[in-house]
Amino acid sequence: MNFDVEVRITLKPGILDPEARAIQHALADLGFPTSRLSTARIFSISMEAGDRTEAEEKARQMCERLLANPVIHRYEVEVRE
């Protein structure tokens, strides 16, 4: 079966996000002051798997082994058929 999986990688809470801070400054310069801004990275993946659980497990393995860096990142996996 084919599954569409969305993987979302974000920085763990408390990890400095200099990119987000720079964007926040730029937004403020444009007249949009913000109290919080964070960045995330989304991977849209299609793959074959026996069932939903397998698809989710495969996506988690992808995160563990390549897509995320466990020192600074956390990830969420969402499976859509």
Binding site: I15, L16, P18, E19, R21, A22, R65, L66, L67, N69, V71, I72
Partner: protein, 232 residues
Amino acid sequence: MRFAVVQFGGSNCDLDAAHVLSHVCGVDTDLRWYKEGLGRNYDAVVIPGGFSYGDYLRAGAIAARTPVMEEILRHAKGGGLVLGICNGAQIAAESGLVPGTFAINAYPKFLCRPTHLRVENNETPFTSLYREGEVIRLPIAHKEGRYMADAAVLAAMNRNKRVIFRFCDPEGRVTEEANPNGSAENITGILGEGGNFLAMMPHPERASEGVLGSEDGKKIFLSMIRYIETTG
């Protein structure tokens, strides 16, 4: 004695490293294209600076998962020396060869300038020709060089004397002002668990000839050569 400098697509300090090793330090050095692997046993492997795989995903992340890295891991497990410089250090961290990671600089732009470093441990194969506490001058050139690790890892690194270089001022003081990229505890050179793998963000190969303004980096390569000569 023979050194290898591994070339990935996007490596750009490979020829500088090979030049310093062969022409300045006088050691036989092979350039090894990553797809061809190491191909033989080497005394030391250098993973040079650059932008392997265009820094896609994270700096060093994709190169860290290539088969040549498994070979380098085996080389290191067998006691062989490995020096990861800049992108090579990022690759080493992504491979888990050294703990922690090199994240985007605290001020998120590319920094290219000379820095002062304090040699924190000279009892390593890479630093034996320096004095402990010696202040040396090497350039940095990176955007993702902010060393990060959790408190427990940092404590263990300090305890086990695996912190090798810290950013400092010209007098050797480790201050916030002397920390160009926001690295934890100013750390920019760390030793892997076996003590035979050094990952560092500054570029010793760019400071190994007087004509370039500093020869302070040469002692890293000469220390490695001496270590191989005395243990070989």
